[in-house]
């Protein structure tokens, strides 16, 4: 008799027949049991600057071991990493790397933290979980770069081993999530709240796509929700869109649109609003929200100066949101 498996990791709740894979392509029903077929098989592993994640309030200027397996439970038409996020596991020839080895690699390459990134770390959940648990036990810090499309129970199980997260808030309407990402907004908002409430250092990224999520009211509502529900100290990154995957017909986001978005978010009271994927020096710097002095000067992914001292502004001595050492 056929045994169907219902995967309850994410809000898709895929029901799989024998041999069938989920929407993420990497969770498969084999003889009535759910298997993670990319567990231990990263397709990408690099040392990146932490600013690339982007994290601007987490150990500035440090290298971070960054890895991913193929697969994602969303199918964003604009995906920048679609070659791996939308790939099938067999398309990339990889070698088994046990979670213990990931920790050892981070230590070997003098990285104090590990980022689960590039594709969707919550889709390759079991690998992320084991790597996080082992590396946290060795004193390393763990970073999720995620779209946050996961159910509450498995996410809460992972959070104790996570120190920082950059979560994509891709738009602020159900319609955008449905038509562009093949997902829904509500679970992402829940993930954002869970992350902040768990005491994880949280930064939010919104990729601004011309004509799709760049209206003033979209940006205002998104910013207001963050200010109200996550706190005005939550760093927000507006990233420039580039034509990729199924959205090559659109132009890159103009700088003016990103600067407008930043202004709108600041008007909503957000204290740390950045623009990314583009070089614009003033809007990639961190300023003290209280006395307004320059705290961190950046150029691209490089730190030119960091004046934060023991997590505080050197002038007014107020605490600055983030993990600084």
């Amino acid at each position: 008799m056929t045994t169907l498996v219902k995967c309850e990791l994410c809000p898709r709740y895929c029901v799989l027949e024998n041999g069938q894979k989920g929407e993420c392509r990497i969770r498969v029903n084999i003889d009535g049991k759910l298997y993670a077929v990319t567990y231990g098989y990263p397709c990408s592993i690099h040392i990146d600057p932490v600013e690339k994640k982007p994290l601007y309030h987490f150990l500035p200027g440090t290298p971070i071991l960054s890895l991913a397996t193929v697969g994602c439970n969303l199918h964003c038409k604009n995906c920048q990493n679609w070659e791996i996020s939308q790939a099938e596991p067999y398309q990339y020839e990889t070698e088994f790397i046990a979670p213990e080895k990931i920790t050892a690699l981070a230590i070997q390459y003098k990285s104090h933290s590990i980022a689960y990134t590039y594709t969707e770390p919550l889709a390759y959940y079991e690998y992320t979980y084991e790597c996080c648990k082992i590396s946290a036990g060795k004193g390393l810090k763990n970073v999720l770069v995620t779209a946050g499309y996961i159910n509450e129970e498995p996410y809460k199980r992972l959070l104790p081993f996570v120190h920082s997260a950059n979560i994509d808030l891709k738009g602020f309407s159900e319609e955008f999530y449905r038509t562009v990402c093949d997902g829904s907004l509500k679970p992402v908002l829940k993930t954002l709240e869970l992350t902040k409430n768990a005491g994880v250092e949280l930064e939010v990224t919104n990729l601004v796509i011309p004509t799709l999520n760049d209206k003033d009211e979209d940006l205002q509502q998104l910013s207001a929700w963050i200010a109200k529900n996550l706190g005005k100290d939550t760093p927000l990154h507006f990233s420039q869109f580039y034509p990729r995957y199924k959205m090559t017909h659109l132009f890159p986001t103009p700088l003016e649109t990103l600067l407008k978005a930043r202004q709108i978010a600041q008007n909503e009271g957000l204290q740390f609003v950045y623009i990314g994927n583009i070089i614009h020096r003033e809007s990639s710097n961190t300023y003290c929200p209280f006395c307004k002095i320059l705290l961190i000067e950046r150029y691209g992914y490089n730190i030119l100066q960091n004046n934060i001292s023991n997590g505080k502004c050197p002038k007014c001595n107020k605490e600055i949101y983030g993990i600084w050492q």
Partner: protein, 61 residues
Amino acid sequence: MAINRRKFLSSILAVVVAKYGIKKPSLVRQTYAIPLLHKKKLPKNKNNFGLSQTKSSPWAG
């Protein structure tokens, strides 16, 4: 008395199931997946980590 359409169809279906042995598949709920460990060939092009790699994209992430 009017025939209850739903009851009628259910009774037909019950007869068919009884005769031909059609069974409803069982459903297992699983949140956490079992790692599937399998051997793969080592790649030809290796970087420092011994992996075949996609390039790190120029964009944030």
